[in-house]
Amino acid sequence: MDDIAALALSIERDRIRRARMRTAEQKLLDGGELFDDVRERMIWGIKSDFPGFDEEQILKEFRRRLALSRRLERPR
């Protein structure tokens, strides 16, 4: 096993170990909380890309990027 593969395996094992330390109830909340976090970062990114955008334009661009991401995930 090369160094990169060994590192990837070690990270994955650590994720399993950490997941076991948390309850199902705690982890049920994570998907939504991560979405809120990602959304906030995407908004910051759009503000940085387009400093002249108003709130409505920012939300429009955010929805466009989200729709693109959903299209890429859709079953084909």
């Binding site: 399993i16 170990r17 939504g32 909380e33 991560l34 995930e73």
Partner: protein, 192 residues
């Protein structure tokens, strides 16, 4: 409004409209595996003869429920889509398919605390059986990762004969045995 508040709002609406449900998809695999971000919350619902428009009226003005039922030919599922316009978070309400496994999965659903409310989700075993079925059909790597993590995190707590029974029915037994091997490989060292 946060994504989880949107999920709770939909659950309250379903319960008020007396529509049995369970929260599936990545929310349920997160509960039993390794959490990841999600852009939507998927529900299986059994509306029976109740109208979905009752839910549309109950979920509030910010969450728009399209009353048009959408049939997805790749996955052979029918669903309603609701979107929370300000955040872009989406809710998909799938009608429970009428096959033996789906009836079993729904009848075995369990309650877990979500914020301050008990909600229904499938068992860990049923998460694996269903996502294996999807993976066999549409080969999305994130489905494989989700259930590999569920198998690794749950390990000896899983009812393997139950999973193997349904995998034999669905033609996914070989995939399941491969999944178990991969889950074994990622066990933390002191526990393997």
């Amino acid at each position: 409004m946060t994504a989880n508040q949107i999920v709770l709002q939909v659950i309250r609406a379903l319960e008020t409209a007396d529509i049995p449900y369970m929260l599936v998809g990545s929310y349920s695999s997160n509960a039993f595996g390794v959490p990841r971000s999600t852009q939507d919350a998927d529900f299986i619902i059994e509306p029976g003869d109740r109208s979905i428009s009752a839910v549309a009226a109950l979920i509030g003005p910010d969450i728009k429920l399209d009353p048009q039922l959408i049939f997805e030919s790749v996955t052979l599922t029918s669903r309603y889509i609701a979107t929370h316009e300000p955040s872009g978070f989406r809710i998909e309400l799938f009608l429970r398919p009428d096959d033996e496994f789906q009836r079993s999965r729904f009848s075995r659903r369990v309650q877990k605390l979500f914020e301050d409310r008990l909600i229904w989700i499938p068992t860990a075993e049923d998460v694996i059986v269903q996502k294996l079925r999807w993976f066999a059909r549409i080969k999305r790597s994130k489905d494989w990762d989700d259930i590999r993590h569920v198998a690794a995190v749950q390990q000896s707590r899983l009812d393997l004969p139950y999973i193997r029974h349904w995998c034999d029915q669905h033609g996914t037994r070989e995939l399941f045995e491969k999944l178990l091997k991969e889950a074994e490989e990622i066990q933390p060292e002191q526990e393997s």
